[in-house]
Amino acid sequence: MEYDKIKMTEKEYSEYVEGKAKKSPLFKNIAFAFVTGGFICIIGQIISNICISYDIEAKDASTISVVSLIFLGAFLTSINLYSKIGKYAGAGSVIPITGFSNSIVAPAIEYKSEGYILGLGSNMFKIAGPVLVYSIFSSFIVGFIYWLILLVK
């Protein structure tokens, strides 16, 4: 749109704003994300190793580790601690599987006031829903292509 007083075009304004906007401290954020993410992964590895030392099969050990981390993420969210970690850790708290369970518990807490079925129940997957939809859909496509390849062989 053109306005009589502003002499910039929308594109020029956009570039001007980009130049002015305070930038996130990228290297500081990367450092925090790296350390937090790495640390959460180490917790997962420790759990897995403990299971293996009790003669649990590697595949089951991995499952136990994943389930434990999902529990950890949900627990830390329910005691209002995960958001405090996320403020500093950024991607280090979003990317690990703990971030997945955080994204399920967080909206559910807020919508509890609208009831358990329609409030809590339908908002649990507000953020995590797309993750399930697109990952399962893409695994379907992978499976289909793989099946075709096996057919041809």
């Binding site: 979003v94 994204s103 807490i109 499976g143």
Partner: protein, 119 residues
């Protein structure tokens, strides 16, 4: 053993750092970033380049959400090998069933007991 944990730390750290660059440099929201990572996990596993990362970094590659894609892709490919066509439908979700159930159960319980608070 220390070497093992160091590899885990570095692999997990690098994957999360890539996510951080996306958060800071693009306008992508957390939900979109999670979708990108998990779908890339599926695709990279299918074309065979994620397995070496898992072999090197272990939990550093399976704990990030891309690891969920890794489990899905492996699950579906194994099921297709064993059961043929039906495997396309059953393989992925079966392999990740524990994770999905845990997410729903702990998610629900966590939300039940929690009280909303301000930052």
């Amino acid at each position: 053993m220390l070497m093992e944990y160091l590899k885990v730390f570095i692999t997990g750290g690098i994957i999360c750092s890539i996510g951080q660059v996306l958060i800071d440099k693009t306008k992508l929201t957390p939900a979109r970033i999670l979708v990108i990572f998990v779908v890339l996990g599926v695709i990279f596993t299918a074309i065979g380049i994620y397995k070496p990362i898992v072999d090197f970094g272990k939990a550093g590659a399976t704990v990030p959400i891309s690891g969920f894609g890794y489990s899905l892709a492996n699950g579906v490919m194994e099921a297709v090998k064993e059961k043929g066509f039906m495997g396309i439908f059953t393989g992925g979700v079966t392999a990740t069933s524990a994770g999905i159930t845990a997410a729903i159960v702990f998610g629900y319980l966590g939300a039940l007991v929690a009280k909303p608070k301000v930052k």
